[in-house]
Every structure is written in structure tokens, then in C-alpha cells.
Symmetry: C2
Subunit: 157 residues, 2 copies
Amino acid sequence: MHDFTSHMPIAIDEAKAAGERGEVPVGAVIVSADGEIIARAGNETRALNDPTAHAEILAIRRACAALGSERLIGCSLWVTLEPCPMCAAAIGFARISRLYFGASDPKSGGVDHGPRIFDASSAHHVPELFNGIAEDQCTVLLRDFFAQKRRASKKGQ
Amino acid sequence: MHDFTSHMPIAIDEAKAAGERGEVPVGAVIVSADGEIIARAGNETRALNDPTAHAEILAIRRACAALGSERLIGCSLWVTLEPCPMCAAAIGFARISRLYFGASDPKSGGVDHGPRIFDASSAHHVPELFNGIAEDQCTVLLRDFFAQKRRASKKGQ
């Protein structure tokens, strides 16, 4: 049975928590086919000094650890921002069945923009794609974060 | 001063060790501008149940942890196989200065093939690229590994 609950509110909570820690506010959650939350994460690139510690990568690593499997077949990933090419490729490797994302990312996205990972003929696995989920809320989070950073940086000059 | 030593033999050693552990034999090493080895890794996707645990990602994470920095400016990454799109994007995020790779990967590569990550107009950072380093050795390693797997799988039938 497919679970029709929107899990974006959890991803948004993770994004907000990331922003409060000074990270770019992006959050993700991985949910099993029957609606069980398996892993959730916010960006931690700064805290971990790890450029690969995007919310999606951390959620995938945590979900795989929880299930003891390299593959998350049947799972859905909800993320507040269009995944970058690194995360989109990782989502393919993890065989995630459905990808739901919020804000569009024309500058750094890798699904609807840039290298469009899932459109490449070499893509081994393509999830079902749903974009624009709670898009306004997800976009405002990012916009407010960067506006605040710009104000802080002007004050510091 | 630029270091002209080939560090591919170390990446090959890591690839061989990965193959002996039953992982796809790919190895990577990250070297500072003055030739110091900062991190080395082989594939660990099976051992760690982590689809993101490619040699390059592990080497980047280890090097960033060793240097306490999200960025590896001035560093070189040597890897036995053309990086996939996930790893190529991570190499860009880590701001690695030079990427040397061995075997070409027409099926799953993301540098000279598929989504060609560094050719996208949205690529924020493009390292200097050197392909075909010790190509024959790197290719033979992979070919032998998969030939052996096919033989083992036929026997198991």
C-alpha cells in the first residue's frame, strides 16, 4: 500500500534546525513504503567539516545503516531543496523509489537543472520524481537564511 | 612548488586491497601541493552498507577530517577509475585542484561520460583534469575482478 502522507514538514523541521546551527537550511527524511520514518537529517557540512555532508547523503547513510543494506528499495526521500548532482547520483545508487523535493535550485540543482542526473542515458536507476512540494515554505527558509547572512556580513564590514 | 610524482601506485594498492575484501577494486589517494599524502581509501560500499562509500568520497571525508577543513584547495586526488557523477560533484565541492584518473568508465563515469559534471555551466569549481594515468593497470584490475565474479557466479548456478 502506498503511503500518501506528506513528510515534507519533517524535512522542513530538519532544515530549520540546520539553519539554527549556521548550516545552509536544507533538510531531508527517508520513509519506508509503509510510512515508517527511517532516517532524517539536516545539512552538516560545517559542523562535520565534510563537503559531502548534505542532508540527503546523511539521510541515505543513516537509513542504510538502520536497515543494514546498501539499497533503500521502496523508500521515499523528501528533501526541501532540489538535490545537487552529488545527492541525485547517490539517490540513484541507493535505489530510492520516490523523490519529493520542495524548492527549485536553478544555480546548483542536478535534477531539473545543470547535469540533470536522471536524464543521462547512463543513469542506472531513476526514482519517480515529484517537485514543488511545499515549495513556498522551503524557498522562504533559504531566502531568509541568505538575506540574514548578507546583513550580518555587511555589518561586519 | 608543484609535485610531479605519480601517486597512482598508492591508489592502485588501495584498489587491490578493496578487491581482496570483495569490493569493486577502486582506490584513491589525496596528496597536498607539496606531495604529502593526506588520505587514502578503497571502495567500502559493501563493508559499510553505504552506497556513498566510494573510494573518492571516503578519501575526501578523511582528508577534510585530517585538515579540519571543508575544502582541499591545492590538493590532488588520484583515483584508479573515472569518477562517477556523485564523486565528481564531491570533488568540485571539496575544491580539489587536480584530478588524475586511470581507467575510463564509459558506462558509469561522470567526467568524460554521462552527465560530464565539470562541463555543466553550473559547475562551481573545475579541477585540472588528467585522464589515462596508468590506464592499463587500472583497467586490468577491474576486468579481472569482474571476470572472476562471473566465473564464481556460473559455478554457483
